[in-house]
Symmetry: C2
Subunit: 483 residues, 2 copies
């Protein structure tokens, strides 16, 4: 059986949620990381009493362990001092806008559990506010560590307000989307003041991290002209179009310091967008991509000077043998700032299955040190993801993230696998289902062929049948073995 439990922290008001799975073999319950939030709408303002005037980075640098850091230390089962030190060094971020007190603190960095982001949001073509809030709740129920609201079209402000007030996880946005709506979709009409106003509007609502494509410099567009798929980041293509029309440098780059000062006031975390990420296997690791990455490295250090936390976004479409180079270069150029990648997709041939093409790349890039994986759903390249797509993407990415945690030897990660495998070997079917990433589906697959209650303690299933159940034979061997 699964139930929600809270672990009390050393300070008043710190109560860290876990999903606890009780086992029928008498062993200690297994505690799983829990992103589903306390429930109810709107959510309680958990972090309101903890407010300080400083950013998490400023506190960490000053040697102060904030309540948020205490919270995530319990959540990650690591010392609070490690959390503080990693944040202070810029190798981890704790995205927490002071106007989003409903969020439960979480940390993103290569020394911690690999995180998963889920993208949701309306497009001009389809969806509604209610549908998006439902996707948010659904995504966190399946383990989304952060959620990005990528809404475009009408009702952007209202959709975002509803999402933030109902979100127990940090919310990210790409403010240029709303800015573009304000100028009726014409990139040429964008201006810095309009963009700044949009940031302020979103900051006031409580957006925890913002993707800003400040690294798409005017000089880099020509590097994309021989590509198979050009510029595939929406923000990247918008800024490249603006630079070309005005024959001026990217206004996000030109006004980056003002943006940093603004972000610091709310403790908004930068997610430095990779506007020139490769959109196909052919374009992976090319000069356009790495030129922008060098600029993102420069911007990382500039933001740090303002005590602003920074993540750096990464690709995209990358064949397996070119994945590691991405991580190594990002770590070097960006001083160890957390890497946050979209996949990468390891082949282009499987539209409708890009949650799988990219889970392969995501697991590998996570193993190499990427801190957060942005999920890809089966609808990638084909349409706006619906509820089922959100779940399919989340499951694939929780698998990738956990596989990476195992490969990195994260303390405690393997306990989950071991508990499930022990339950499997001992034919404790109910324990196995409850420990599964998706208990209902595991149970229903088993019950398709053996629905009877007695099958839940049977020493076989329909895969091999009673005579060929290797685990059953294995027990008989052990029982007969001379001790």
């Amino acid at each position: 059986m699964r139930r929600k439990v809270y672990v009390e922290g050393p300070r008043e008001g710190i109560r860290v949620p876990f999903q606890e799975v009780e086992l029928s073999d008498g062993n200690e319950p297994v505690r799983l990381y829990d992103t589903s939030g306390p429930g109810g709408s709107p959510l309680p303002a958990l972090r309101a009493p903890w407010a300080t005037g400083r950013t998490q980075l400023a506190s960490a640098r000053a040697g102060v362990v904030t309540s948020e850091m205490e919270f995530v230390a319990i959540r990650e089962n690591v010392p609070a001092e490690l959390v503080r030190a990693e944040i202070a060094a810029g190798r981890a971020v704790l995205p927490a806008n002071r106007n989003h007190p409903e969020s439960e603190p979480m940390v993103i960095g290569s020394r911690f559990l690999v995180k998963v982001n889920a993208n949701i949001g309306t497009s001009a073509v389809t969806s509604s506010v209610d549908a998006e809030v439902d996707k948010l709740t659904w995504a966190t129920r399946w383990g989304a560590d952060t959620v990005m609201d990528l809404s475009t079209g009408p009702h952007i402000h209202e959709t975002r307000e509803a999402i933030i007030r109902n979100s127990p996880v940090p919310i990210g946005t790409v403010p240029i989307y709303q800015a573009l709506e304000k100028v009726k979709g014409d990139p040429v009409k964008l201006t810095w003041p309009l963009f700044r106003d949009t940031i302020v509007e979103q900051a006031e609502q409580g957006v925890d991290y913002m993707t800003v494509h400040a690294g798409v410099l005017r000089a880099y567009t020509p590097l994309t002209t021989s590509r198979v798929t050009g510029i595939v980041s929406r923000g990247g293509s918008i800024m490249a179009a603006w630079c070309q029309a005005h024959q001026q440098e990217n206004f996000l780059y030109e006004n980056f310091d003002e943006m940093c000062a603004l972000f610091a006031g709310y403790d908004i975390t930068f997610s430095l967008g990779d506007g020139l990420r490769p959109g196909s296997i052919a374009d992976a690791n090319d000069e356009a991509q790495f030129a922008e990455l060098r600029t993102l490295g420069e911007l990382t250090h500039r933001a740090w000077a303002y005590d602003v936390q920074v993540m750096v976004e990464g690709p995209g479409h990358v064949p397996m043998h070119k994945i590691k180079e991405n991580v190594d270069l990002q770590v070097e150029l960006c001083g160890g700032a957390p890497f946050y990648t979209l996949g990468p997709l390891t082949t282009d041939i499987a539209p409708a299955y890009d949650h799988i093409t990219s889970a392969i790349g995501a697991a590998m890039i996570g193993m190499f040190g990427t801190a957060m994986l942005c999920y890809v759903t089966p609808k990638e390249h084909l349409g706006l993801p619906d509820r089922d797509d959100v779940k399919a993407g989340m499951i694939a990415y929780k698998i990738a993230a956990h596989a990476a945690d195992l490969a990195k030897g994260h303390p405690g990660a393997q306990a989950w696998d071991d508990a499930l495998s022990k339950a499997r070997f001992e034919f404790r079917w109910e324990d196995q289902f409850e420990l599964a990433l998706d208990p209902e589906t595991a149970r229903s697959f088993h019950d398709e062929t053996l629905p009877a209650e007695a099958a839940k303690t049977a020493h076989f299933c329909s895969m091999c049948g009673p005579k060929f159940c290797s685990m059953k034979i294995s027990h008989e061997i052990r029982a007969q073995a001379p001790l």
Copy 2:
């Protein structure tokens, strides 16, 4: 549009099938490897006129390029001499029982395209002959390069006969399953003569490769007693139980030379079973597993002395950071004989999604040199796969295999990705769908939100919508760029 085409070989009667995808941009059609066979039932005896008295290995060693080798050279787009040399060196196998003339030749080896095997077969609990023949046709339609008939229960002989006569791909079996049925499920009653008769029965029917668990030596069972999941291979557990009951050495090991002589008479390929493969993350790369692998190395060389082709089976459940060691050790111990692995699953936590946990491991182990990947379906650990599971497993594994081909730089592999990405960037939606691994599903996902015919040439889809389509903006940038 897709259609089947045949490429004529240098010798009469050699006609190699491909799926050809015609493109609307006027470029050359893309040719895809095709495993679906000529259709009709029973299939024509394609290889009957090519029969020689020798095995493919004996021919290759004698410097002879057989018709089968010519066929696969065209299929793989490599020189026939490379095929011959790799087979002669034992680094590739061409499984082709002389009693299965219906099969279209294919090659398995690290220098060639990574192959995928699909397991089908009845269990005592469920399924029927017709259902299994349907799964065979379905699996080859989705790209299965070989199919293993793992039937247990009644009607094993009839099921296998129907499968072989209808199979355009090599068929593998695990003969110990039928042998065990003959002794009513009691492993203790197994004998070498009974097993030998079973091999002969299957050899006469035309089984192309057989899994034999000759490496599960009596001394290795104690190495599994401290494991979390003991022995998880059916054949491995059966042989371990036999050894323990009789306190004798594995009769498959003791009679291996007689088996080799028998296999040579039909040109049956060994698939040396890994009866002690790990069944959980905790058990990966342990002494039991590697002790057996050393014995498989010994057996590989013994089989080669009889001109018998050999593949070696591998795990199982292995965390990502322990995958490469498996390949390196296998190559070293088994003299480069093709490695044929089940997954591996990179985490245990996701029953019902093990096609994904294992596609990650399969792609990686393929990149490191594994020649054939045995698929894992969503039903793994939970029940017998049905038609939908077969498809889900095949798709995940074709993705893994192709991702590995890209990472290995197989000549021509990337042409498929490039053609699809070019179609995508040019909004040739129909070309993109037809090039997709699963055209119907890609098309239906797109049409869910934009069903109108006009949307098939639209410069956007519902994912980003018309104003935010980065590829559309990218084209506008290119159009405006100073040349």
